[in-house]
């Protein structure tokens, strides 16, 4: 088909040399897990493994959002006017919606599309069967790019000062 996963990965500079400083220092294990998964993502992308890329990229989107939002509780609490208590037992959809709500406009162009949840849910065979045959291939390509952009957006983010 079109671009290979390997060629897309080659263009994803933030995936290749990730800057994870947006993860709070106390979340060392989160950073280790994300770094490990990024290494495995490199292997799967370089071997053009669509399904594995979808699984890992979906998992990484969740890990990255979870770790980022966890570090932004103070900022989100200030916006809300009362404590933001981050519930870790929620889904990628919830992480995405929280991120879009609090950071979608602050970090211009960073909003995450609803389709990433559909792609992630295609890990269930009944979901994938209900979608067109090329979904896994397209999902792998788009999720690589979306994850790469997200890492870039977060690396450059500094919470604005609040009055």
């Amino acid at each position: 088909m079109t671009d290979t996963l390997k060629s897309i990965y080659e263009q994803c500079s933030r995936l290749k040399t990730p800057q994870l400083d947006f993860i709070p220092t106390e979340l060392t294990r989160n950073k280790e897990i994300i770094a490990r998964d990024l290494r495995e993502l490199a292997f799967t992308a370089n071997n053009d493994l669509d399904r594995s890329v979808v699984l890992l990229a979906g998992s990484l989107l969740e890990s990255v959002l979870y770790s980022f939002l966890k570090g932004q509780e103070t900022y989100m609490s200030a916006i809300r006017g009362r404590p933001f208590v981050f519930d870790p037992n929620v889904s990628l959809q919830n992480y995405k919606d929280i991120f879009n709500k609090y950071f979608g406009q602050t970090i211009i162009g960073s909003r995450l599309p609803d389709s990433i949840v559909d792609y992630r849910d295609a890990i269930h065979i009944n979901r994938e069967l209900a979608l067109p045959e090329d979904t896994c291939s397209r999902a792998a390509r788009e999720m690589l790019r979306i994850l790469d952009k997200l890492l870039g957006d977060l690396a450059g983010f500094a919470a604005p000062a609040l009055e």
Partner: protein, 270 residues
């Protein structure tokens, strides 16, 4: 609670309650929450909560409760919850809409999940999730199109699942063959225009960029097929108002996709 900060705090308390309601009935997910007769300065607030399915066939009004329930504190602000099912509310809308008018009085929609709502309910509360002229599309990449031409698959099979993008047409030739439009995507249930930076993430753009010699297509709801000719960026401060976009791009620079209508091939069923 007269300040904007007070309203923000009230909203946060309501959001916490909504978060609880989202999972309270696993078989009847929360579909809609409306803050009605909104008066943040008053000690008592009202919400309407509608759940999916046929959980209730009436509008139940719960006894007044403190919004500080999470901390176990009894005190203002207080909340009265009017709860029902989407199905019942839609029936009431059809039979006696005047009885529901108070739910639209100074109302603000705090939460909705459009897959559980009925159209009459979204219209009643003026929940707008897309520009009026948005057309939903599915991307057909060059390989898939080749398979379609050979009769290996139908175009209809490509429109399963969520549309890959939406288009708001900004121009169309008199013979309807050529058109251009602003690509949109669904973000938290709302169709919003994409910036040029964001367009680059998606296959329907990156395939065209990488292989301009190979034709790719958009299948539009209703069955029309368009070939993607090119993308260009236009500075157009008027677009947001003219096409009733749900959001204005900060720099007014809108990517536009140029399209050409094509007829379905003869040797493949659509």
């Amino acid at each position: 609670m007269r300040t904007r900060g007070g309203e923000a705090r009230l909203r946060a308390l309501l959001e916490d309650l909504i978060q609880y309601y989202v999972g309270v009935y696993p078989n009847n997910p929360l579909a809609l929450v409306v803050w009605f007769e909104k008066a943040p300065e008053r000690p008592e607030q009202n919400i309407l909560a509608l759940f999916a399915g046929t959980l209730r066939n009436e509008i139940t009004v719960t006894p007044r409760q403190s919004l500080s329930w999470k901390t176990g504190t009894e005190g203002p602000p207080y909340l009265e919850v009017h709860a029902s099912s989407v199905g019942h509310f839609a029936q009431e809308l059809a039979s006696q809409p005047q009885g529901l008018s108070r739910y639209r009085d100074r109302a603000e929609v705090l939460f909705f999940d459009k897959k559980f709502l009925k159209e009459e309910v979204t219209q009643f509360f003026n929940i707008v999730t897309a520009p009026p002229d948005l057309v939903r599309c599915w991307y057909v990449d060059p390989d898939t199109y080749d398979r379609y031409r050979k009769g290996d698959l139908t175009l209809r099979s490509q429109s399963a699942g969520r549309p890959h993008l939406g288009i708001v047409k900004t121009d169309e030739s008199p013979d309807f063959v050529h058109a251009k439009g602003i690509p949109h995507l669904e973000f938290s249930q709302r169709w919003l225009p994409l910036s040029f930076d964001a367009v680059k993430n998606y296959a329907w753009y990156s395939d065209w960029l990488s292989h301009p010699d190979r034709h790719s297509y958009l299948l539009v709801e209703g069955g029309s097929l368009y070939q993607i000719l090119k993308f260009e960026v236009k500075t157009a401060p008027e677009y947001a108002a003219k096409f009733q976009l749900l959001e204005k791009l900060p720099d007014d620079r809108y990517p536009e996709v140029y399209l050409r209508a094509v007829l379905p091939t003869e040797n493949a069923a659509t």
